[in-house]
Amino acid sequence: MGILAATVVLALIGILIGIALVFTGKKFYVEVDERETAVRECLPGNNCGACGYAGCDAMAAAIVKGEAPVNGCPVGGAPVTAQIGAIMGVSAEAAEKKVAFVHCSGTCDVTKTRGNFVGIQDCRSAANAGIDIWDCDYGCMGLGSCAAVCPENAIKVENGVAIVNRERCIGCGLCAKACPKHLIELVPYSKHIHVQCSNKDKGPYVKKVCSVGCIGCGTCQRKCEAGAITVNNNVASIDYSKCTECGSCAEKCPVGIITTLVDRPREEKAG
């Protein structure tokens, strides 16, 4: 008898809650833009934050609201832009794919440290603590803060300098934010000529601390026909929108820090 009463009571409670749920569900229904879900589906979903929003969900909401551009996801590139464009009913050109590049080539063979370092192996924390054992004040510390934040494992520290794997890099820019020496820049994937130094000291001093440091001689600036390369603060920098990739700067650089990337085929460089 007791078990029957309990069953009936529970069944009644269940039915009542069910009715209440159906009623509240109808009454407080929040309209979700279908497009938002669709856009979210298109986005890569690794929540890297490179777009400037808190993650892919926030980015999808922003695109639908019109706050973010359709091509705002730097990771997805052209295919994602096309898909989102189709959903949103606009045609948009994909933003150019960018990859991270480390403006330093001061490996352990060409520049030195003045001591050993024991402690947290993290560039930011070491820089904050005033640890200064590197001869070059501007170069890569090689403790791998960038590698630690990379969501795609695209950066690793080799022989004291961080190296980016261009194929894996999604251009989210987290490494650029993490680097206390501000060595990492997002450069167009299609460009292959880069300056591998950030030292702003004067030539003779740079020579003392590193054999592959920019001495600010200005040869590259004079050789560049497109006017794409300039020497500011004793270090060369390339304006990628003007660069034609002729390679004359790289040929003439006396310290060889303007390099065509290693992964670029030789014949392409010759042509």
């Binding site: 050993n116 402690g119 947290i120 070491a126 904050n128 603590a129 640890i131």
Partner: protein, 459 residues
Amino acid sequence: MSNHTFRGGVHPAENKEFSKEAPLRVYEAKGEMVFPLSQHIGKPAKPLVKRNDLVLAGQIIAEADGFVSANIISSCSGKVKDIGPRQTVSGKMANCIVITNDGKYEQVPGIGEKTDYNTLTAQEILAKIKDAGIVGMGGAGFPTHVKLAPRDPSAIKYVIANGAECEPYITCDDQLMRGHAAEIVEGLKVILKLFPNAEAVIGIENNKPEAIEAMQRAAEGSAKVHVLPLQTKYPQGGERSLISVIAGAHFPGNKLPADVGCVVDNVATIYAIYRAVCFNEPLMQRGVTVSGDAIANPCNLIARIGTSCRELMEEAGGIKEGVTVNKVLSGGPMMGMAMTSMDVPLQKANNALTFLAEDEVATAEKQLTACIRCGRCVTVCPLGLIPQMMAAAAEKKDFERYDKKLNGLDCIACGSCTFICPAKRPLMQLFKQTKAEIMAEKRAAAAKAAAEAAKEEKK
């Protein structure tokens, strides 16, 4: 034997016998002198001289910029060669004034004139200390005129002279107390003039019986100056350790010694105060121990500030034959900073150069294993912190927990936990970095808040 001591602490090998019996001897610099503009905690000083200016010894060449800052005094006469970045003891490049030393040491007139401190008011004494550019000479380099001017001078109960010298190898304070006991007592009396309700206590570790005896003899007859022998234990000379022994006060990290009625000064600082107030002599030289198992003739020198550390090394006979130096420290082995070059100037707060044949930090790194939670670091921490949990939080970069739950910012980086750790974990290094990172974050947050407040105001 005295039992006065604090809770926690460790017993590292003292290694003071190298230089213990070597009396302080004056060393006059030969080469050019370099004066970093920032030899103290606070803002760097503002240079008052230009290139090619002639300066005299004792001349103020850079003046204090702001409240927490200190004057920089030339310790030699000569011509200003350059003002620009030079490497300093910490290994960093910092702006320095470089003076070509003419070797004559011509002084600014008026230095050495005797003044009776009883005729001076508190303000005049503080002004003299400020002009002399005196900073804490035990290592931290906090401007002394700021420390001696708390909000309520009458609330100060103890003026503590720090003669503990708990750091291994260093013996210059010991020798200073042996040779200049009367002057240190006079210096304390000068400070007591600033604090009407205070009494002075000189705390000395009992491994320096000669210094204790000399100070006791000098303090005889002065009702307000006492000598207190302390147990030999590291870090007995830490400000907080001394206060807990002498005043029995424990206080959190956001409070200052003045909040519990104490002022702590190193004996070398007190000696400098005496010279500045009674003889009008600015801070031009200091005692420095050059010691270690890799140096030929360990000694205690009185050297001019700005002297190249290489000259001091050579004065101590250079490196012992047949020995390779693997580590040079400015300061002692517990808290000293590793130096990366000998061509750096001696600064106001550098009390020693220690040359070691073995780099024990590098050796320890090779033996590093995981934390076994033995809790020895907890027993030795003089501040009652929990280093092993702080280390876990630091490694995970859980700054919230490190700061709020574990009070990790109170850490004084004495290194006792690292010394005792059987797993050879680099605890103190972790804490130093984590503290710096948290402080940087706090500064960034404060700057952001200030910028936003300014924006709001504009609206």
